[in-house]
Amino acid sequence: MSNPTNLHYTKEHEWVAIEGDVATIGITAYAAEKLGDVVFVDLPKVGSSTTYMKICGEIESTKSVGELYAPLDGEVIETNSAVVDAPETVNADPFGTGWLIKVRFTSLPQLLTAAEYDALTGEG
């Protein structure tokens, strides 16, 4: 799966969609594929704060545990309960209905472009 060009990325395989001062965050198709079948997601609480490149959640597959790194500083304003109830959504639609959290950010750090992320994962 190619990485959508309208999104931003981190080297820890999160994607970020920016809309105003709200960032929607998920993990990339590449990360979901590497993890295998996702069976459990542990997301930060609404109202908690996130710090750039600090772990704020976990994504567990049958074989391993992946960490969710916050791509920016801010406050969690929404978590995707559909993914908590049906973790396989992360594999099925990582860039869409498999989103994980929405964060109202206070500053926007330098994130990777799709082309840069493609280069990092050897795709594109």
């Binding site: 295998g36 079948d37 069976v39 976990e58 049958t62 545990v65």
Partner: protein, 336 residues
């Protein structure tokens, strides 16, 4: 063998509900032959191989002089004077060396590592036997659990072994290495799901089967691992590890292997500490969110006083405590 072909869960489910095939060619095949083969194996392993009927198989352990486990094996009797020993891939060298060393004083016995000559395919699942039947000349209904016979699969001369490592019915098929791709593809064409290492691991875990390197290692004796029944101390002849094992059998061994179940969706994984209050009382050796059962299951070693069925413990999952209960193994048993 890859970790997965498509999806761990889909592969796991295929084996529980239909049929899957695993390429386990990495496992070691050691042929033990000669007029003294049975006597030799009686000395080299903890089981009584001489009591295995021709065409039958037995689960076995090879221990060192201290009674600790070098590997777990399956021993198949091919003929009066010929046995096939299947060992774990990672233990090929130690098992072959131990057997060869132990053969020195036995005379008239050949120990031949033929792992590179053979491919081994495991076909497992409730429909595995019926599907495999379509491409073999052998009437599979004549082979009961833990039996072996020769036959052809997709026209290829094979050994058909009714054994496995998934908790389901099925066969392990030993074929010449150069025919592996042909037979593997023929099995897939029957609708059998190719399965990887991840599914193999969750399947054997649900079935409560130990994995060397996790539940078994050189610091573990059979009594700790719940495998005391495999050791035949009552037989007259000596075998490697017998005196040490006889001592261990008399003692209260600790820690011991237990099965653990919890609630929720979070897995207690290998190497996570097992706690009682603030004290660490053991460690998880294998664990997953059981795909079949839907709750976390684990195996681990705990101190004897916490190892009774129904005992409550906790597992430290990266800082979060998961309450788990000691249960009888296996977690999953197929309906017959």
């Amino acid at each position: 063998m890859p970790v997965r072909y498509t999806s761990d869960l889909a592969e796991h489910e295929a084996v529980r509900t239909n049929a899957g095939v695993f390429d386990i060619s990495h496992m070691a095949e050691i042929f033990v032959s000669g007029p003294q083969a049975a006597t030799f194996l009686d000395y080299a392993l903890v089981i009584q191989s001489s009591a295995i009927a021709i065409g039958k198989a037995k689960y076995a352990l090879i221990c060192n002089a201290q009674g600790h486990i070098i590997d777990d094996l399956i021993v198949y009797r091919l003929a009066e004077d010929q046995f096939l020993v299947i060992a774990n891939a990672g233990n090929r060298e130690p098992v072959v060396s131990a057997l060869k060393e132990r053969a020195v004083f036995q005379g008239f016995v050949g120990v031949e590592d033929r792992s590179d000559d053979f491919a081994l395919l495991a076909i497992q699942g409730p429909n595995a036997v019926a599907l495999l039947q379509k491409i073999t000349d052998k009437d599979l209904s004549t082979l009961s659990y833990y039996s072996i016979d020769e036959g052809t699969v997709d026209g290829v001369a094979s050994y058909l072994c009714r054994t496995g490592y998934t908790g389901e019915d099925g066969f392990e098929v030993l074929i010449p290495a150069d025919k592996a791709v042909q037979v593997f593809n023929a099995l897939i064409e029957l609708g059998i799901q190719p399965c990887g290492l991840a599914a193999r691991d969750t399947l054997r875990l649900e079935a409560g089967m130990p994995l060397y390197g996790h539940e078994l290692n050189l610091n573990i004796n059979p009594y700790q691992a719940g495998l005391g029944r495999v050791v035949k101390l009552e037989r007259d002849e000596d075998f490697v590890g017998k005196s040490a094992l006889a001592e261990l059998a008399k003692q209260e061994v600790s820690p011991v292997l237990v099965g653990l179940v919890g609630t929720g969706k979070r897995a207690a994984r290998a190497e996570y500490p097992i706690l009682s209050g603030e004290n660490q009382i053991g460690e998880v050796t294998s664990g997953a969110l059981s795909p079949t059962l839907g709750y976390p299951v684990a195996m681990g070693y705990v101190a004897k006083e916490f190892a009774q069925i129904g005992d409550e413990v906790e597992v430290d999952i990266r800082g979060t405590r998961l309450a788990m209960t000691v249960v009888k193994l296996p977690f999953y048993k197929r309906s017959k």
